[in-house]
Symmetry: C3
Subunit: 272 residues, 3 copies
């Protein structure tokens, strides 16, 4: 059963300490590295054209986050994603700011060709990305979560990958299979890079279970949400949340994880 | 009256959550984003030549900080500043390290042409910038605050903008109008990027009151100083200050703000 | 005696607040700047080809860290290192990820030509670097500490510099002179950039004692280890360690430093 395997995945990352190659944005590099370390993984950040493919080849998973992209970095992302695809290494895409500029949309259209295992974004980003994929112009970030869920299903089928829509409730979608995680806390949205961290943690989980991207995404979102709740319960504001979140990622135990977990199987779909 | 309107501006940022476009340095991107979030604003960092103008166009204000500039980023700054000027969107300049190298001085001379609404720097930077603007060579960072104040007045008149000189006392200057904020704490100088954060917060305030750059700068410096005092009162060193500062930005209430505020109108000038 | 001079060096950095020029990686720029400030130094980060030599010329020491290198930054590093060598300004090299890709190895081979005063890395990196220097191919990161120590001695002699091998015990090596510092705590390895911080702090110490790179490296590693122990004793996980570490760097006093110091002279060698 899915729920019982989640804690095993948390333990697997702690035990194997997988190398996760991140090509991510300047704002969150420090957070991302710290969160991966706290969860038990081993982060590496590298983007030089002269080494980016070599780094992907020695890593267990690749994470691409377009937050502060420019032409040099886009080329780095393409080189790494192509190598990951060639090696059948799982990679996770964070489409930060999808829909905000046509430049971002073009870059994302290109990256989708390299078959990410998982895409994680907020409702606006997933709506924008589904719209890009179906060549529809115009993105309304005011769409509801239900509409994001429909977009996630379409995107999942078009790209043949797992799609995570983050929010007050996180939805993990693959075709018509939908799981909801209702953990987390509103203060998390006041700390920059919490979404980017969720994407990186998903990469770590994929690295230790490359054949199980769906379960990896569920486990990662559950871990994020529960660690965020524990942090928010102690915190006096967003500054403290960031610190306590890392502490919680590192110290979380099985009993707390299972007692806090708020998972609902929205639609069982065909288990993958 | 100026003093009574400051808290209203704090509330306006929290209520409207303006999008603030930052082209800033690598060292402080994370702090800056977190401080904008904690103050209620919505940060975006973007610098690709292919999107930087589009991002400025959808933001309420632009913040340019030259801390870790290079040729690519300077071009990004120019593109964004030109677009902000064309759209009459307020933008705020942080002349980090003005006077340290001739490269920085040349870049600043160029950026001043795009009519920033506010310039915020420490005494040495404002002295250097005034010197650049008046084509005088040689900058002595050992000048006194009073001399920085004179330089601020000259710079304000030459560029037709508000100039903020940060220090133990912050001076907000426009022509002969001078307001002093005596809040803050020496430990803030031991946390990297506190000045950069002040500049970014000024951008958020300008975004919600684009016709009132002077009042926005005063409100931003007051908020920074008071949040810093509250943080330092709880802190055991500079590491804790950073965390508690974000908590204070987020939780500060009107009564505390007004009771802590140490504002002096040094010279009333002509209210703008 | 070496041990008695260490606290004097800590005080010297606090008293002189040397300017330390860092060309370092995106992940740790914020930490590095905060740690330098907390230790009493004055950090500057600058990499533009148009100013990097000027910045090195006004700094007391240069720190080069290749963590997130690319071609532009490698050129920056070479320009700065060449200027440092020409001015006989001490510079410290952090060979992050040495051995991971051939691109990194080629860059490191080039940088070694500019005569760093100190090289600091973990066992794998020092083994890789010694291997690069002796033109031997193939690096096994599973080598033991003792083998890293031999590599450190060879590297020190080949490059004519001090070599620091960080780990549970830190070894400071110059030729056959070896000092061991047994301070520190395992939680430090769960915070990104602690090694990079050690390198930057070493730069600050070299800046105030440019003729004493060996003693500077010992003092820096002692300060790092003791501050880390104090932080870990208070911390609930890696998130808190980062904060308390900065607090400890800032507040550490002579009595605590001397009572905590665990220094062993492994081999006296010829004092330099």
């Amino acid at each position: 059963m899915l729920q019982e395997q989640l804690w095993q995945q948390v333990q697997l990352v702690r035990a194997q300490s997988p190398l996760v190659h991140n090509i991510t944005n300047y704002v969150v590099m420090n957070n991302t590295a710290n969160a991966l370390l706290a969860a038990g993984a081993s982060p590496v950040m590298a983007h030089a054209h002269g080494e980016v493919e070599d780094m992907t080849a020695i890593a267990g998973a690749l994470v691409i986050n377009i937050g502060t992209l420019d032409d040099y970095w886009v080329k780095s992302m393409e080189l790494a994603a192509a190598r990951a695809k060639a090696l059948q290494r799982p990679w996770v895409l964070d489409p930060v700011g999808a829909g905000a500029t046509s430049y971002r949309n073009e870059v994302l259209r290109e990256l989708l060709k390299y078959s990410p295992a998982v895409i994680r974004g907020n409702a606006s980003e997933i709506l924008a990305l589904a719209s890009i994929e179906s060549a529809t112009k115009g993105v309304d970030s005011q769409h509801s979560s239900e509409q994001a869920l429909d977009a996630a299903k379409r995107l999942s089928e078009a790209v043949n990958c797992v799609v995570v829509v983050s929010g007050a409730v996180d939805y993990i979608v693959q075709g018509d299979r939908v799981t909801a995680i209702a953990n987390g806390h509103p203060l998390m949205a006041k700390v920059t890079g919490m979404g980017c961290t969720a994407t990186a943690i998903t990469g770590a989980f994929c690295a230790t279970a490359p054949q199980k991207p769906y379960q990896s995404a569920v486990a990662a979102m559950a871990l994020m949400g529960i660690a965020g709740e524990l942090a928010a319960a102690k915190a006096a504001g967003p500054g403290s949340v960031q610190q306590y979140f890392l502490d919680a990622l590192y110290t979380l135990d099985e009993q707390t994880f299972n007692s806090k977990l708020q998972l609902t199987i929205v639609h069982a779909g065909i288990p993958v």
